[in-house]
Structures are given as structure tokens and as C-alpha cells.
Symmetry: C2
Subunit: 300 residues, 2 copies
């Protein structure tokens, strides 16, 4: 896993070799804002799944911060209460520089855990920006975690998060206004998914005490059964592969283009024309792309 | 601006035509989390700059939410207290689907305001994810806004935000623990930038009452003077153009490749091989890229 984390051709070779052994793990994405209690929730779920005999992998985002290292570490330690158990493998990763990069790395580490036979894999991500879309790369069931306070927070309820959830959790539901928020969320989801084959349920939990975690497990199982019955699981896997191949291809293309010294020279020259001669960036980009003549090469 | 916002070839034609008129506006990025008071701060700054005779443009991100539409609207209205004034133009935009897309759109609208002769342009963005990097596309001085509570929040202090700021603000500095947070922030910046030509200052403000806003204006002016004296402003502009041309070129390349029916067919075929025949995504991407033969076309 460390070699995969370092990236590059070595990582690619490993993943390529492991590929035939992948495909049996069920992948669950858990996404939500800081402080929503994702880790505690995963911890509670892991205990339940473990007691049913499943082996578990967890890939968790670790926002490294110069200030809050302690708090983050505490979180990890709290979660790793299950980690003395060889049936639970937890890998915490830092960002790989870009959100897409992170998401791909999380997927790759999940691939390794999958190849090594884990039954269930949790992918924990902080639900901001585009990450919530990218989790689709690999998770079959995506759980979006809110708190009762999420209703006040514009960020947390960005439509992206609403679109990506298969199951919604209102954690810390013993706090004030939780019932109202659960009702609002249900109303909003009902409007959005009315008549759909799968209407995402809203599950109130208090992860720290374990309340509602059984309902969450049931909701995840129900979604999994729905996906399997509707052949939608195969569809999600196909979509995941599609996104992955496209991402890998774009990455290779990008490196080929910008790593080519000839193109680099032309690029530098064109940027200089923009700066000094008033060539517009739009015209500059057009010229650069015309030079490549991509869509005329070898399509015959 | 609406035509630019709609995107496509029409937007490109307009921007291409306006390009010769751009380049005189000074662009200030203001980034920070929800509730940090960015809008109120911009409002206070706008009043000051306006009273000195500058014309102003503001391009602000507008996170549309099915739940909190009211709150967002309130924020805009609060800011537009200066908007009866024709010398202040405010444009609030929703996301264009991706963070990079948003950032490019914000830049393009700033370009239009620039071409129409605005002296100062504020780019307001929510500082999460990669947005803080992308703001570099266009802003010359980037102001990162924290609150005293930011010290508790892992997200807000992701190293990305620390790296991108030219000036740091601790807003709502009348709240508890503000002094300690200001001191911590200064200590951390001193460690990071010790001996650098520009060490980002930390400015405590209470935007709502206007306290400290004069110091913030001075800090922005000092940074601008530093950039101009060190020829670093030209460097930033060059870097902005470089990023822009590259982004535009990649966008065109991507559309050419994936919009090509022949490639699309090959792509579908290769994904099918991954799903059914156990071809690894890595091998699949390799074959797809080899088919394109990008680096052998027309470099002679």
C-alpha cells in the first residue's frame, strides 16, 4: 500500500498485477463535513459488521494541518479502537495535491484491500467541493452524514451532497432541532426522488452512544439489495471502470503533451506572445491545439 | 456578462475581442470559509476604495442551496448596500459544475470588468478544496479570512489556504481567543516565510463595525507595492496567462478527444473489455493513449 501511495509506474504495475483479484469487496463511501462524526460512525459500523464475521478495510482522508495535528490524530486513535483486530485494516491518507488525485489514490488503496480479500471497504471523505462526486469512482453505497446544525450551513447542503447520497444520516440527533431537520431533509428528498426506484432514507443516529447504527446498517443493506436486484450494481461498477479508464488516459495524455520538450517550447513561445504581443489567450490556446492535430492522427 | 456566463463559442468570441482592453485592473482575491465575514469585509473595503475615487467590480461565488436560499440572498443584499452606486458593479455567480469551471468563469467575468475599465476587482471565493489554488489564476493579492474559531477547525487551516495567502485576516477579532489565534498564526507564518521578501501580515478586523479595515487596506497596498517594485506583478500576470492558456488548451484537447466518435467507439470497446474480459484499467488506458499517438504528430 505504501508503494501504491507513492504513485508512479511502480504503483501502476502493482495495481495492474492485482487487478484480476479485485471485484468481490463491497465499497461504502461515508462523506460529510468536519465534526459530523464520520469516524465515530464508521467505528460503530465496523464493530457491527465485524461481529457478523466480515473482514473490513477503511481508507480515510487525513487533512494534515500544521495547527490541528493533535485533533486529527485523536480522531484516528479513537477510530482505531477496532484496530488491534487483524480483521480490520485502517489506512489514513493525506491529500495527493489535488482532490481528484486524492480520490483516485483512495480508490487505488481500496483496490489493494479488495484484492487482498476484504469483504467490506469504507471510504471516508470530507464532503466539500467536488469530492462528493468523485467518490462515485468507486463506492457502491454512499452515506452522507449531516448534523442537526447542517441546516444552518449553506456549504454542507450544496446540491452536490444531496445528489450523491444513497443514504442520509443525521448524526448527533439528540441535539436541539434534530427532528425538524430530519423532517425537512425527508421532505426535500421526497420531492427530489418521488417515484424513483430508490428513495434515499434519512437515518437519525447518535454514533457515540451507538443509537440508530443498527438502522443505518439496515439502510445500507437495503440499498445493496436494491442495487443487486436491479442489476444496478453492475452498472455502477461499469461506470466506475469507465471513469477510471478515462481519468488514467487523460492523465497520460496530459503528461505526454506537457512533458514533450517540443510542445513545451511552443507553449513557452505562445505564452510570451500573450504577455508581450497582446495575443489573446483564446487565440493562443487555439494555435497550440491546432499544432497537435489530435483528431487527425491514425483514425483511418 | 450574461453571454460570457453562458459559456461556449459565443463567450470565447466576446472575451477574445475584449482582450486588448484588459490589463489595467488590480485584482484582489478574498477567500475564507462560510461565516468568516468575507462579504462584509469586501463591503467595508469597497466603501474605502470608492471614497478614494476608484471604480469597483466584485465577482462573488453564490452557493445555491435548496435550503438556505434566504440566507445567501440576505448576504448579497447586505453587500449590495454599495450597489446603488454605478461605480460599484457586483456579480454573483453560481457554480459552473466544477470548481475549476467556477474559477475560470470568475476570471472571465473579472476580465470583462477589467476591459470595461474598473480600477479594482474583488474575487470572492469560499476557501475549501482546491479553489484557493485556482484563485491564483487571476488575483494579484490574495486575502485569506479566518475567524478566531478557525484555530479549532482542521478544514479551514488546510495547508493550501496557508500557502495561498498574501495577507491574512482574523475577522470577528472581538471574540474570545482572538489574540491567541492571531499570535499563533503570526508564529506559523514567521516560521514558513522567515527571510522571504514578503512575509504575509496578519490583520485583526471586526468587519461589521469597520475596525481594522484601514489596516487591511494598508496591507493590501503594501503587498501591491511590493509586487510592483519586485517586478513580481508581471511575473504573476505571466503565470496567470500561462495557467489560462494551458487550461483552455486542455479543455479543447479534452473536447476533441472525447467528442470524436471514432475515439468514443474505441473507448466504449475498451471499457467493455475491462468489464467482461478482465482487461485492467491501466492496460486499457495505455492502449487508448497509444492509439492517439499524440507525441508523434507533426512535431517535425
Amino acid at each position: 500500500m505504501s508503494r501504491v501511495e507513492r504513485g508512479g509506474p511502480d504503483a501502476e504495475a502493482i495495481l495492474d498485477e492485482l487487478f484480476p483479484y479485485m471485484g468481490s469487496a463491497y465499497r461504502i463511501g461515508i462523506t460529510g463535513g468536519t465534526g459530523s462524526g464520520k469516524s465515530t460512525l464508521i467505528d460503530a459500523l465496523v464493530r457491527r459488521y465485524r461481529s457478523e464475521g466480515n473482514t473490513i478495510g477503511v481508507v480515510a482522508e487525513d487533512p494534515t494541518s500544521p495547527f490541528s495535528g493533535g485533533a486529527v490524530l485523536g480522531d484516528r486513535i479513537r477510530m482505531s479502537s477496532a484496530a488491534g483486530d487483524p480483521g480490520v485494516f485502517i489506512r489514513s491518507i493525506a491529500s495527493r495535491g489535488s482532490e481528484t488525485g486524492f480520490s483516485v489514490l483512495a480508490d487505488e488503496l481500496a483496490d489493494v484491500l479488495d484484492a487482498f480479500g476484504r469483504d467490506l471497504i469504507f471510504l471516508e471523505t470530507i464532503g466539500v467541493g467536488q469530492l462528493e462526486y468523485k467518490i462515485r469512482f468507486s463506492a457502491f453505497t454512499t452515506v452522507v452524514v449531516f448534523t442537526p446544525e447542517s441546516g444552518d450551513d449553506v456549504q454542507g447542503l450544496k446540491s452536490g451532497l444531496m445528489e450523491v447520497g444513497d443514504v442520509f444520516v443525521v448524526n448527533k440527533s439528540d441535539r436541539p432541532r434534530a427532528d425538524q431537520f430530519v423532517a425537512d431533509l425527508r421532505g426535500s428528498l421526497d420531492l427530489r426522488y418521488h417515484g424513483a426506484e430508490w428513495e434515499p432514507p434519512v437515518v437519525p443516529t447518535v454514533a457515540r452512544g451507538g443509537a440508530g447504527v443498527n438502522n443505518l446498517e439496515e439502510a445500507i443493506t437495503a440499498h445493496r439489495k436494491y442495487l443487486e436486484a436491479a442489476s444496478a450494481l453492475d452498472e455502477r461498477k461499469r461506470e466506475g471502470f469507465r471513469n477510471r479508464v478515462r481519468y488514467l488516459a487523460e492523465d497520460k495524455i496530459s503528461r505526454r503533451i506537457w512533458g514533450n520538450p517540443y510542445i513545451q517550447k511552443r507553449f513557452d513561445g505562445i505564452v510570451k506572445q500573450v504577455v508581450s504581443d497582446g495575443l489573446s489567450p483564446y487565440e493562443a490556446a487555439k494555435r497550440l491545439v491546432e499544432m497537435l492535430q489530435i483528431d487527425e492522427s491514425q483514425h483511418g
